[in-house]
Symmetry: C3
Subunit: 138 residues, 3 copies
């Protein structure tokens, strides 16, 4: 059985970290699938999906880390291609990844207590985002 | 068909790299699923799952690399939140990822000869870890 | 339903970035699966699969970034193990990941307009590569 759902949300960009765990769980409940997997996939090339303990300290820390290795005001050839300013956002997305697959067991995501599913929107402006939650199982 | 299994193991933490390929293969055999996928997911926010050639040189190299970009004794706001010391471990986990999906063909993981599935436990203390192996197929 | 397919291609190595989106879409068409997921997995430990906007500027930028954090001519213990020269390639692969799962909806990959699936071949020589496309759904 396959169940497809979407999560739509607004982000502020600039590595806005948004906890989407409850929204993903809601889609699993709607699907009536008890055992299987959920693939959480963000449409777009300047955002990422990963897991992290969602608390303000780590949200700050991951921002600092990504800015250190891929600063927004660095030199990117991408800026010349499109007269754009979000080269860092593209690389952060490619590095962290845009897809996450989590097992579902007895109707629940098999996450740890301090492990949340987050969208990190790396773009340089506010964005409306669409995330696919594709649930497969029985 | 969905088959759920767990791998439980002890790690030493501090980026202990543990080859779990044989244990995952064992679960696939138990499942009797011949074609499909296996999602390998570590429960927790201070460990990661990836593939690497499991040999002592690369185990050393990935340790050095992660320590260079995210040193344990760096300054992390997370340490202030929980009076904790594992901020680097959380970021290493979010960066490498906690989930890996590998195709199963004719009852076997479609890995290369020098490509192993590893758990990297980035935490700053020994941990007992639980890894979900969720197998879907026919 | 499970449908297994392979994409075989030649790469130049040295972080050759190859857009494989059309080839993956072709396999989905062949599978006749309309809703489900496609797991794209590269066999081997010196290449990676991710998503990126495939344009020459970003291809250049991701090359520069990976070379900066993991230079080919850096010191790697792996080189001593096998008298090899591709330690950086192994670490780049473990960091970016070798597996990507993308939802399929109404027969199409749920990618953004500027979001392509790419193979990044990090090895230090030309390689023949085999990528598994495992499609599950209905």
């Amino acid at each position: 059985m396959v169940y497809s759902a979407y999560i739509e949300l607004h982000s502020k960009g600039h590595r806005d970290v948004i906890d989407i765990t409850l929204k993903v769980s809601e889609k699993i409940r709607e699907s009536n699938i008890l055992n299987g997997i959920a693939t959480v996939f963000v449409i777009g090339s300047t955002a990422a999906i990963t897991t992290i303990e969602y608390e303000p300290g780590l949200v700050h820390d991951i921002n600092l880390f990504l800015e250190k290795i891929l600063p927004y005001n660095g030199k990117y050839r991408h800026h010349e291609t499109w007269h754009d300013d979000n080269g860092a956002a593209h690389l952060q997305s490619a590095l962290l990844g845009t897809s996450l697959t989590v097992p579902i067991i007895d109707g629940k995501l098999s996450l740890g207590t301090w492990q949340q599913i987050v969208l990190i929107d790396c773009d340089t402006r506010p964005r409306r985002r669409k995330i696919v939650v594709q649930i497969i199982g029985e």
